[in-house]
Symmetry: C2
Subunit: 455 residues, 2 copies
């Protein structure tokens, strides 16, 4: 226990500007950030919207350690494996920080022999990437994963995942958005038609995937130059890609009609139509341009924000994917990288005053020698569940107490005075209007609750 004290004494020595031999290096590691109370208030708001939605859909929640055995992660991320943070070998097991939440989830399922679960997991993941912090890309960032694992009748949970994405994006009021729906089997059919050899499906898929970041010409030259695809096959892919314009505004069924029937997996058209039925008829979602095929994506669905606003960079460009494990266990995933750039949070915060506490009332006094009475009153309020603060001064000035409320957004002040104590009342002041009323002490809790309840 005394170690803590020793440690603090060390810190004291180090912080003390005078001695200052060992100065703190005052920075967070590259690509990481602290969250200030203001940024935490925004984060809480976003997480609340997401968690509320996940719970509304009956999801459980799990948590896994921040690191895994190194071999659990080995071979799971292809060329991105170089971005994994390894821990130093200090004797014992070799460990790595998690790179995503999907591999730990798969490990959890296998370890506990779970074949049926609907769970969410919101946690930080780690990638030794080149951070672009101005765009909200960090080396430590949150993922919000929702997965349905099990065996189900076709497309029912798939449609629910899209509904969830729709609910969250609507709830966050991020502006207009478009959810691109795809079916990997259609992409495979397209590759087959274009003459891509089976062995190159995956690597060519990675190239096509870059179309949102690179022009077609560059993607084509990567396919042909680096990956050894024939120029004819590449050009054939190009025809399909260019068929679909900027927002890929072609319905899956329409693309299927461009492909020879024998190249399309027998139920892929049916599956797309089935999903569309659930989405439009049952969930009443608009399916105009909203649900279309983007051949550039191997995911089931990718939401994309249209237009720019302070929240745009939330990085809600999550994805819904669908994959079978061990040939039978289907996992449907919604994965969203939350990448809120600090700068944009600032913009947002300045527009709308964001409170960093939920304090309902400051317990104050106008006269001296009332500290114990202030403490007695605040204790009553705390015990009744009221969020309350008091200044840690024996005899604070009333003006300073009112100023504190202005600075922190506390809406009410409960003022204790000699006369009020005698009369069994408390003076309640509304900070915004400067209105003051005497409230009987036994009604104070109810009065504060009433005045601070959200409409």
């Amino acid at each position: 226990i005394a170690k803590e004290v020793a440690k603090l004494l060390e810190m004291k020595a180090q912080l003390g500007g005078d001695e200052g031999k060992h100065k703190f290096v005052l920075k967070t590691p590259k690509g990481t950030r602290d969250y200030s109370p203001k940024q935490m208030a925004i984060r809480e708001r976003v997480f609340n919207a997401i968690i509320t939605c996940f719970k509304r859909h009956g999801a459980e929640v799990i948590d896994t350690p921040v690191f895994e055995l190194k071999e659990t992660l080995t071979g799971k991320y292809g060329e991105d494996s170089k971005l994994i943070y390894d821990l130093k070998d200090q004797g014992g097991e070799l460990l790595s920080l998690r790179y995503d939440l999907t591999v730990p989830f798969a490990r959890y399922l296998a370890m506990n022999k779970i074949t049926n679960i609907k769970r969410y997991h919101i946690a930080k993941v780690y990638r030794r990437d080149n951070p672009a912090m101005t765009r909200g890309r960090y080396r430590e960032f949150y993922q919000c994963d929702f997965d349905i694992a099990g065996q189900f009748d076709p497309m029912i949970p798939d449609a629910e995942c899209l509904k969830i994405v729709h609910e969250i994006l609507s709830d966050l009021q991020l502006g207009d958005f478009l959810i691109k729906v795809n079916d990997r089997r259609i992409l495979d059919g397209m590759f087959a038609v274009c003459g891509v050899p089976d062995s190159k499906f995956r690597t060519i898929c990675s190239s096509v995937d870059k179309l949102d970041k690179m022009p077609w010409e560059e993607v084509r030259s990567e396919m042909v130059g680096e990956k050894g695809l024939s120029p004819e096959a590449a050009d054939h892919i190009g025809e399909y890609v260019q068929l679909h314009g900027e927002h890929c505004g072609v319905e899956p069924v329409a693309l299927i009609q461009h492909l020879p029937r024998e190249q399309v997996a027998p139920d892929s058209a049916g599956a797309s139509q089935l999903a569309a039925v659930y989405l439009t008829h049952s969930y009443q979602l608009s399916c105009r341009a909203g649900h279309c095929l983007c051949p550039a994506s191997a995911r089931l669905a990718v939401p994309e924000l249209l237009g720019a606003d302070p929240w745009e960079a939330l990085g809600c460009g999550g994805t819904v994917s669908r994959q079978k494990l061990a040939g039978k266990l289907l996992i449907l995933s919604i994965s969203s990288n939350l990448r809120i750039p600090a700068a944009q949070e600032g913009d947002y915060a300045s527009e709308e005053k964001i409170r960093t506490t939920e304090t309902q009332v400051l317990v104050a006094s106008a006269q001296k020698k009332l500290l114990e009475e202030r403490l007695k009153l605040i204790s009553e309020l705390w015990d009744a569940g009221i969020k309350a603060e008091v200044l840690y001064k024996k005899n604070p000035k009333l003006l300073n107490q009112l100023q504190y409320c202005e600075d922190t957004g506390i809406p009410l002040v409960a003022i204790v005075g000699e006369q009020e104590l005698k009369d069994g009342v408390v003076k309640l002041r509304v900070v915004a209007t400067r209105e003051e009323v005497n409230v009987r002490r036994e009604s104070l809790v109810e009065e504060i609750r009433m005045r601070t309840s959200r409409p």
Copy 2:
């Protein structure tokens, strides 16, 4: 994006028992654990109690990265430094996982030149300790820290910290508890009286600190043998230690009376009395054995649970400490290590059925071909904020749907049928009582809300 697919394909290959060349090692790293949905439900309940209390006292919240620059942690933890997890040098900065939340907090304050803040921080910390997982001691575990940093009039925030500890322990209903209150200056006075040289204060403090784990004889021989304290000084300390019995039931003021006046810091007696006034008079806390001095602790206050119950091992033996940084900034800390042993969670969970979801209603049907109608109804419920689930089957049996509610604790079933659809009603079944009522569709949301609101 396609990387994800590639990764999942890899996982598929690895999980597929047939090929199974590279088998997953199905374990979490030594000293760590997953949290199952049931364990998460308990964790959420505990965190809610703690966070609600911290917010009630007007605290803000911050977050810092899981790792810090290695040099930020260097020299802060004495001989415990060997327990720090270092990251591998992969080029770039040398990093370590945080060992506690105090050093990152101090780094945050210094970096942002903050001199006044009341914040909490709940996060995982990492110690390469020898885990005793049956006792809830892990290498990855949560700390819940609440700190008040600033300059204040004496003992006001100190008393508030004790009130907070009292509120949280009461709220968690952990059983009877005792908060041991101390003043480091009294301990220093005692050392001076006993003839401990100034240079040995810290190391002798560490030894005395072990009295809760070791008998006095062992502590004494560590002081004399390893640390070179004179046998006379050690025996003198022993007199004081033995003066205080098992629960150290001596009030600070009483111990002070045993010490020569000139050896006690002038305001330490006054400070203790002042804190006692705030605690007993203003906060009306019982101060019988409850607030006493334990010379074995260098902390301001250490709560200790009396008696055993399933929650005992929560490890709520947090501490309140008080230290100045840079000679002026006072930090008051409440730090609690949450160490919930998985086994005891199980005990607890079996006594009381713990739900892992909050689902209010299952949307079901008794007849076939009503999937789209089920989806339509559940969509209405979701959009109204009702937590609802549906089985992902085209034509599930009613019995299976009811069984699902029994298994997961969903209290209500909304049953869609041909006749009900015609009549504009939904059959609402209460799972516990098997009572069934027809509810008009437009009243369904209100009816579900009413029947599932907590009393």
